[in-house]
Symmetry: C2
């Protein structure tokens, strides 16, 4: 019996289409000969679309995307400082809107330093952790405003909104994730000594949920201290759970120490499956190198592997990860083109299939 998976593809801007093309090729290769069929719909959204039509995310397209089983997302954003995009805010109007409206409350971002990959750290050790970043509230809530804008008396606010409902579900997800990993460690990160109200709700929730997971070793770090540990001893982390903004910051840092942002994958997960989850490389649209086959599609390919996991295709997900791992181990320092990296990962997939 054939299983059909409806996949919404949003390649986006800049290097987005190039890296997504390779992720799609790898998906086709790993599913070849299986009973799983991908039925893709492409949505042209992002800065380019906005410049052409003035639209960011029309309601009917959002509804159409919602009808899919998963979303593969490249990257969005135009050339920095483009005055025509000033009023647009593609990030809030498209990327964050999808995360919020589709209730992607668990933004998972693994950080593994694969063999053969050079870290920016002198002594990284065995880096293999996963950040679970809250995805639907906190400082990203979009609350806030400005009065007397543009005058010397302007006051601008940003309100971080944190709910027991929102914090508990992501903390629970993080504990479940830690429970399924061999090291069974969970580090929660906040700034409880300064952000006392948000910090208190996080602390209460973590302590309450922790009581249900006696096997998990829990520790706490202030976000500033967490950046120190991340560059001095990243091997100490297993699962990290934190709020939306701290997670944004820590996962870019994690990307850098895990071999660069070209390898950093993510899943914007709705664990309740009330809306499709969305899988995207952590990197941006990098318009400066777009269209030149210079981008590394590995982050997009690894994001596709997280998607396979989410869809229950665990052995396919592992095969993709193993192929990437095998490619990275022999990759060396000489740069390859975007499509060449896709070719190499597919060759590794085929070699392992032939060997199996």
């Amino acid at each position: 019996m054939t299983r059909t998976i409806k996949l919404a593809v949003i390649p986006g801007d800049g290097i987005g289409p190039e890296v997504i093309e390779q992720a799609n090729r790898v998906l086709d290769a790993v599913l070849e000969g299986s009973d799983v069929r991908l039925e893709r719909t492409e949505f042209k959204l992002g800065a380019e679309r906005f410049l052409e039509t003035g639209e960011t995310l029309p309601a009917n397209e959002q509804a159409a995307i919602a009808g899919h089983d998963a979303i593969l997302f490249g990257a969005v954003g135009g050339v920095p400082g483009d005055p025509r995009l000033k009023a647009a805010n593609i990030e809030r109007g498209l990327l964050l809107k999808l995360r919020f409206d589709f209730d992607h409350y668990a933004n998972v971002r693994p950080c593994t330093l694969f063999p053969g990959v050079t870290s920016t750290l002198a002594n990284p050790g065995a880096v293999d952790f996963l950040v679970v970043r809250e995805g639907t509230e906190g400082p990203y809530a979009g609350n806030g405003g400005s009065m007397r804008s543009g005058t010397p008396h302007e006051v601008a606010t940003e309100v971080s909104v944190n709910t027991a409902y929102g914090v508990e579900r992501v903390v629970r997800y993080a504990f479940e994730t830690a429970q399924a990993r061999p090291r069974k460690r969970l580090t929660w990160v906040h700034k409880t000594n300064v952000l006392v109200h948000a910090g208190a709700i996080w602390q209460r929730v973590v302590e309450t949920v922790a009581a249900e997971y006696p096997e998990i070793a829990v520790d706490y770090m202030h976000v500033d201290a967490a950046t120190i540990f991340m560059v001095q001893d990243p091997a100490r982390f297993d699962v990290v759970v934190t709020d939306n903004l701290f997670g944004d910051i820590l996962t870019d840092l994690a990307g850098a120490i895990g071999g660069g942002i070209g390898l950093a994958a993510s899943g914007n997960i709705n664990p309740d499956r009330t809306f499709p989850s969305m899988f995207e490389p952590v990197h941006g649209s990098a318009p400066d190198i777009a269209g030149q086959q210079k981008a590394d599609p590995t982050a997009a390919i690894l994001s596709a592997s997280i998607m396979l996991d989410h869809l229950g295709l665990t052995s396919e997900a592992n095969r993709v990860r193993d192929a990437v791992r095998a490619d990275l181990a022999v990759r060396g320092a000489s740069p390859r083109q975007t499509a060449q990296i896709g070719d190499a990962v597919i060759a590794q997939l085929q070699a392992s299939a032939a060997g199996a």
Copy 2:
């Protein structure tokens, strides 16, 4: 004619007293034979004081501190998780209260990788930048609250408050600082694509002030990207200006890549001199190693050198920095006791004085 400087000393908790003792010895050594006299008043404040008397910062002591020319601050905070300190919040009630009430709006934190010091990065390059962190508003404003606390319906908020007045004065300070440095670069860091209101006020202010400093090359980075650059190419930074929370995070990271938090100094500066400025190592009280002469007093000593700068004692400030630099160059890897490092810096001071 003798100049008397009234110095308020707050050694604080944990390793605070040990490192401040060495900073004071170095101050005495560098001022020996000069016409500058330090008149010190010690204030016993911090977690230990709170546990003894229930007081955090009595109004009369705050008023007494305000009557000094400068404050030398060690570190405050008890053993993490001590239930007796739960209600206290020494950080907000003492450290942040001093920063806010004394209008320390320019929190300056240099990051220099001195010769002989090992960075956690494989290829750090020539690291020599300075972060100017806003010190009196933003997410640290202390606005926010919680309703239905401790119930499943709790909502907790934190309000970042940003004013044109507050942003402009620190941005102006950062431009002045950049103007006085040879590389004349200023990087401002925020998260304008998500925190659109606070981001807009920062952007407007930076653009307005930049027009007055045509020699300064200005660039912008999102805070998440800034962490990547900081571990991949820290040498690109000269002066960085950012808000209170982003500055907190970035300066711990900077400390780690600049040879460790044991070397990271800071000045909480009130450039208008309406209240005394305060000089403190970036590190915390580290109760786990307190009283064992294990702490590195270098951050405290370098903080004292920033104080000398602020007091107009530039050549003394430079002599202290040169002595630290000379000591670090020969320090080697074998650990020394807190007082031994003080001894060594003083010996370098004396050697340079004899050689001069």
